[in-house]
Subunit: 345 residues, 2 copies
DNA sequence: CGAATGCGCTCAAACGATTTAGCAATGACA
DNA sequence: TGTCATTGCTAAATCGTTTGAGCGCATTCG
């Protein structure tokens, strides 16, 4: 079942393949092909349902009109939604998306980059794993169009699109403090990646600005690789170990989900016994009873900017670096309430 | 920044490109290339980090080692998880995945199929939209490896992998009946697609088998295109309009989510005032208070089988049709409870 | 009248791999 | 000595497209 090629059209139209190519690429004017011939070719192409072979075209032009999208986990609410919009936006420019999940694993990320290179993608949108610096540097030096998402590598100046992690966490902490909460815990991953650092920094800064104590022991770190069950267990232990805990902040959406589970398992009531805020929004947070207050990322904007920045590089070969930082939004729900003077110790 | 080609290796090794190709494709033995030359070429390839250009290879061989995955919505929990595992499984066979979301829209689906054809994908995994019959038929007739998911087209015999919708819905209904619920409503989409029909059929069959009345007015249909807000509104009206309603079944995960919202907005208590079961599992269902009983699809199995079936077609050109139906699992949580004799009217 | 220009199109190379057919050298055998 | 098979490799075609160079003809200009 072979497809129709440019040669078939040329034969039927009684012209050369070159002419067909010119017409079909909209260069009829430029290449001075007569109206007559042009029309005949266009009609034939439509009639035969000609579909240019992208492999041949790519081989010749060096462009595949494909971008590679490397996310942490396509099953994660945040990444799945970004992926969906990236696909839609890329489509507007005639680009298709090849994607892959790293699970935050260096080896997987390397594998994905290699495959994408094999496939000759024109550009990359990458959620870097820890220690991916060397590979990113190579990509950068070979002048491949590329933009990082969700985090960046401080040692390597590159394009990136991110949420303002510092501000998001700052706002969350400030909000809790203004409601009257004082003893606030912070649960995060062990990751040393920049987005996590900035969240802690923002949070810490707000606490400092409000002269609230924020000792080390109020921070709990859980490795990404720990299972759900074990994470829930660890969070429960942690909560039990902090007497008089007011409120708790989770630095990622999946930790927030674990957190809800932990608090439930402890028999405590969210919003009453313990206030809760999580980074990232989620259906679960919206519909939970009580609703979970969260720091939402502007998913649509992030995806839109990712594609925009990549397209700029792709089309204009501009080599000015684009670093986009978008504001986070605090969505207030019932998991945090104004504390009465009596409650506040 | 051009890559290393087979010619570069040939030149450096002092042999012809043909020889290099033979060696690199593991045909050294078969083509009687000497150990000496073989080793030299392999070493050089490794040293130069040779990466075969998949475009050129694809152009020549007609195989791109790429499969197209068409889902309803990559941001939906079910499809995102299937997509993730499809990607992992395909990778084991050296295949990459190009994906796209249809939003259950015929025009979008057609567009995706066209793009995938342009891109010369070797095979397709398709979640068909309504009225996609013609396109599927064409694909089938052109003997493209293909497997449908989540639903199939009854008029066209093709490969497919699905959950047992009839049994899943049957089990749910039977479970509710055994708990003592009698007046059970059913909320579904207006879609006439087979998976939806089978769910209604399974549900109806269980009601019949247990001699429970199940009049038309207990079924509420909501179009896919209706917004979340409007859907919630409609579900609320529906519930208010059925006096003495015991329990309610939602035929998809997003409807289940809307249902939770509706019942909450009505000020009713799930599990107490009204029992609830939804098709598909979801973090929200697991962590909701009370937990939501649901009919879970075996996501890992589905994805695994999808790739397996496709690979069979791809590799062996077997043209025996494969139709895989996997069991659904009823996950019991607190949204349905045993009713006391007193409660049951 | 001869050269220059414009017009409308075609030739052929190129992209980087795979693959079919075949060539030169060697050895075996009658 | 001549034939044939085997060994170890290569030449060249091919996939379908793009693209720089160029060709033959008609018209225009000095």
């Amino acid at each position: 079942m072979k497809g129709i090629s440019i040669k078939d059209i040329a034969k039927q139209a009684g012209v050369s393949p070159t002419t067909v190519s010119f017409v079909l690429n909209g260069k009829a004017r430029e290449k001075r092909i007569s109206e007559q011939v042009s029309k005949k070719i266009l009609k034939l192409a439509a009639k035969l349902k000609y579909k240019p072979n992208q492999l041949a075209r790519g081989l010749r032009t060096g462009k595949t009109k494909t971008i590679g999208l490397i996310v942490e986990d396509i099953a994660n609410h945040f990444f799945a939604n970004v992926a969906k919009i990236v696909e839609e936006e890329a489509d507007k420019f005639g680009y298709k998306v090849l994607y892959g999940s790293t699970e935050d694993n260096l080896v997987k990320a390397r594998g994905l980059l290699e495959v994408l290179e094999y496939r000759q993608v024109d550009g990359y949108i990458i959620t870097p794993t820890p220690n991916l610096d060397k590979e990113i540097e190579i990509l950068k030096n070979s002048r491949k169009p590329m933009v990082l998402m969700d985090r960046y590598l401080p040692q390597i100046p590159t394009n990136y699109v991110m949420v303002n992690n510092f501000q998001g966490a700052y706002d969350a902490a400030e909000y809790l403090l203004n409601l009257g909460y004082r003893k606030i815990a912070y649960v995060t991953t062990t990751s040393e990646q920049i987005q996590m650092k900035e969240r802690v920094n923002g949070f810490t800064a707000a606490m400092k600005a409000h002269r609230a104590p924020f000792p080390r022991k109020l921070i709990k770190k859980i490795p990404f690789s720990v299972t759900r069950e074990e994470s829930v267990e660890q969070i429960m232990e942690f909560i039990k170990g902090v007497p008089g805990l007011d409120a708790i902040f989770f630095a990622t959406n999946y930790l927030g989900v674990y957190g809800i589970e932990s608090i439930k398992d402890l028999g405590m009531k969210i919003g009453e016994d313990l206030a809760l805020i999580s980074f990232d929004d989620h259906d679960l947070f919206r519909l939970h009873t009580p609703g979970i207050t969260c720091v939402a990322q502007p998913i649509h904007d992030i995806a839109h900017n990712l594609v925009q920045v990549l397209m700029n590089e792709l089309n204009q070969h501009q080599h000015q670096i684009n670093q986009v930082v978008l504001p986070a939004t605090l969505i207030k729900r019932e998991s945090c309430r104004k504390r009465s003077k009596a409650e506040a110790v």
